[in-house]
Structure formats: structure tokens, C-alpha cells
Symmetry: C2
Amino acid sequence: MCLLVYDITHDGTRGKVSEACLDYGLQRIQYSAFLGDLSRTHQEELFRKVRKRLGKKEGKIQLFPLCERDIRQRLEVINAPV
Amino acid sequence: MCLLVYDITHDGTRGKVSEACLDYGLQRIQYSAFLGDLSRTHQEELFRKVRKRLGKKEGKIQLFPLCERDIRQRLEVINAPV
């Protein structure tokens, strides 16, 4: 599994990065956080693509591999819109 | 180590959650993502606090423990503002 989070100012670039994440089968767990099951090779491939899409534009993209134990121990609260 | 990410609509609540993260010594690595070294007990304590601050308001907070190996293997690009 892996978690990809980003902070990108430019709207178009942000859209392209989120599209790439969805293309790789990641699930959008927050507006700018994606979680999914990817081999290390695919993690690196996806990361190369999104880094290329960001180019030199302002922003941050971080991809964290998550082992089974880390995933199991996550804590979360999800409140739907009122 | 742990990574806390949130997606919170209400400005005041978002501010209080980020304050709590900083109080626990986490580092702000993105606008809504915090990373830091916390024992499991402190992870749970921080999570209880931020969940309480969110209350029933719309939003998501997720805390992922990260083992040493997962941290080492993270991929990141950080571009400063142009």
C-alpha cells in the first residue's frame, strides 16, 4: 500500500496529478490524499509521472509506502457533511 | 514516526487541529499534513484530542503510523514558490 499527498497551487497541475493517482488505482481518501495498493515499481513509476507533471511549478508531492502493520494501526475519523 | 493528514472545512477547527499537531512536536510538511516522531501512546492521545476538536463537524482526520522502513522509502519532490 502507499499514501500519496500533495500540496499544489496550480489548478490544472493539481487536476493532472489527481488524475494520475486515480489512473493507478489509488483511492481518494481526502481532497489531496490518495491511498492504494501499488507495487514498489508502480509507486516509483507513478511518482516519476506526477513529478514530471509538477515540473518546476510550486508544490509538494510526497509518497509514503505503508506496510501492512502501519495500515492496520491507522486512526481515522470521517464525518460526512452536515 | 507518524503522519497525520486532515481535510477540514471549518477554518477555526482546522486551525485548532493544526495547533494540536504542532503542540505534539509534529512538523508541518504540507498545508494539511504533519509528520513527526510520536510514541503510540502519544499518537492515540493526539488523535483523541483532534477528534474531539472536530466533534461532529464535517471533515476527515487520518493518522498513519510509519515504520522506519516506510519513512526511508518515501519519495518526495518539494518545489519552492517561483
